[in-house]
Symmetry: C2
Subunit: 343 residues, 2 copies
């Protein structure tokens, strides 16, 4: 076994966009598991937009990462030493090692992965937290109804791609919003959305209007910013807006200059009887079994597709995360920290 455990810790709290110097690579001895514990080697590390919130001091819904502490993250790993009676050396698990090569766990919240269903990396994506987020947000929070026209932002991403495909499987007209042309092409060509508009377009609101001639009944919000402002005027009566993320605003340090659009937003909320509802997947874990049954089935049948963007090496995690905030990843962003024994 290697003697050192490389870790990426939070060095300073980012002011706006996270800088390289907000993180620090450290090397510590690989810890030894105590009684009732086991040690896992990180194989895949998940990078997700919510992590930006964890870097702030107490402004998000979760406990912030302390300065000097390892950045939190969901990981897929393999047990390499165990003093726990339910986890044995060699087991592949979904765990929460964070941005480091090794982690010790007492098993709470750790799940053994079934092999053969799908690649183990999907436990961090389409069959994991992002997939469940899509499922919960569309069906439970968004209360998808027959004939809803659905618009999804970050449509080629880990969450958005699943949202749109579930809506397509259920027979809806689905329009995506993405950035680069190759992403838009993937969203329509590969994922089967009816249309996809680019947020780089100077005519975003018109493009959306053309793609949604009968308006929008459900907008799955991942991005905020100008996409949100372009969508709002097109929302139909009784439209629902599940708010999953606001990645365009995560690095904002002050309210943007006016005009203040709150009054016009709230006027539409009233007259069109809109429902805008924020949610966080962790509040809806009870839907996980139904999600695994439905989405697992659609993956096996080939009805639901996914794409992973795997970056090699823990040392590239910071730049990969910065790229995620810039929309540079294409599909679920993972860092491969060590070899995947199943590939």
């Amino acid at each position: 076994m290697e003697k050192t455990n490389r870790q990426i810790v939070l060095n300073t709290r980012p002011h706006g966009f996270p800088a390289d110097t907000d993180f620090r690579m450290v090397e510590t001895p690989v810890p030894a598991p105590g009684d009732g514990e086991f040690l896992t080697r990180t194989i895949y590390l998940s990078l997700d937009p919510y992590m930006r919130g964890r870097m702030n001091a107490g402004t998000s819904y979760a406990v912030p990462v302390e300065l000097g502490a390892v950045m939190t993250a969901g990981t897929v790993g393999q047990v390499v030493a165990s003093k726990h009676d339910q986890f044995a050396e060699g087991d592949l698990v979904l765990c929460g090692n964070g941005w480091q090569e090794y982690g010790v766990s007492n098993g709470v919240g750790v799940r053994k992965l079934k092999l053969g269903v799908a690649p183990i990396s999907t436990a961090l994506g389409v069959l994991g937290m992002p997939g469940l987020t899509a499922y919960v947000g569309l069906l439970e929070i968004g209360a998808l109804k027959s004939d809803d026209v659905v618009v999804v932002s970050a449509a080629s991403g880990a969450v958005g791609g699943v949202v749109g495909q579930i809506a397509k499987i259920k027979g809806h007209r689905v329009v995506g919003v993405a950035g680069a042309q190759k992403k838009c092409d993937y969203v329509t060509g590969e994922l089967g959305f009816d249309a996809c508009v680019s947020h780089y377009s100077d005519t975003l609101e018109d493009d959306l209007k053309t793609a949604c001639p009968e308006g929008i009944d459900l907008y799955f919000e991942n991005v905020g910013g100008k996409v949100f402002e372009a969508v709002v005027p097109l929302l139909n009566e009784f439209a629902r807006v599940p708010v999953c993320g606001r990645i365009a605003n995560y690095n904002m340090t002050a309210a943007p200059d006016g005009p203040n659009l709150v009054p016009s937003l709230m006027q539409l909320v009233l007259t069109r009887r809109l429902t805008i509802r924020g949610f966080i997947v962790f509040d809806h874990a009870h839907l996980a079994p139904a999600f695994i049954k439905d989405v697992g089935g659609w993956i096996r049948s080939g009805e639901l597709k996914y794409r992973e963007d795997v970056v090699d090496g823990l040392e590239n995690a910071v730049s990969a995360f910065q790229g995620l905030l810039r929309g540079e990843n294409f599909g679920k962003l993972l860092v491969q920290v060590s070899d995947d024994p199943t590939r």
Copy 2:
């Protein structure tokens, strides 16, 4: 019978605050009911904030009032001539004559009033549309939950007073927001709210914080503007905001100067899992029987109080409506158009 029917018609569409010249008093012959119709004399005319939206060209949820047409309104009236087999001369009814002395109806949407339950004027207030709005917004849209701290704006008004009293009857801590000191005193002294803060205060947000040391779980939105902006930071996780009205913004002709607070609002929607939901009472008529049973019972038992602000004479309707938009009324605003035979 009088020969002329005085009517107030929409003369021009208001730009911003409605001017006297946006309305015009006209005199027309009193119409004669045809077969299957009846004629009512307007006794009480209800003035409500939603009417401001009807004066605009197609920007609200309802069909706008046409230029030259009589302003719409709910009314309580008495049948003075009938060729309708279910309505007889002398019947007291809830009807929709609008801002005029007489109106003809075919009976659709007209309800005969039961005498002795409460004064007939209450069919336009606490036992009518405003009362049902309060009931629907608090219980159905706001999904009032045990231990919710409830804040209500326009707390001395026709809707807000009922919202807060229902919440008090159900055992909640209730804080009102009103304007003048006499209104705040009425809200706490007469209606029994736990506290009431004035939106005239320079320290509104601090006042609210003091009144709600554990935050706000349900904010019943009637007013918009700075009250909304003061409430939002105090909303707890999973708080609900039923949006009933935005009277502070109804005469706005352009978005106010920045900063644009949409991103910070939406960020809280996400991290605190807020639900902001607009509603209009007409979509929830199925709750009327439960409302009448509950609120009617609380009125008879003396648990629920109400206050009417009755202005005399149709000729004063325009100035009374202007006063409503300025918050000058104190209780449910009615215009007495002709004698009430039950008083």
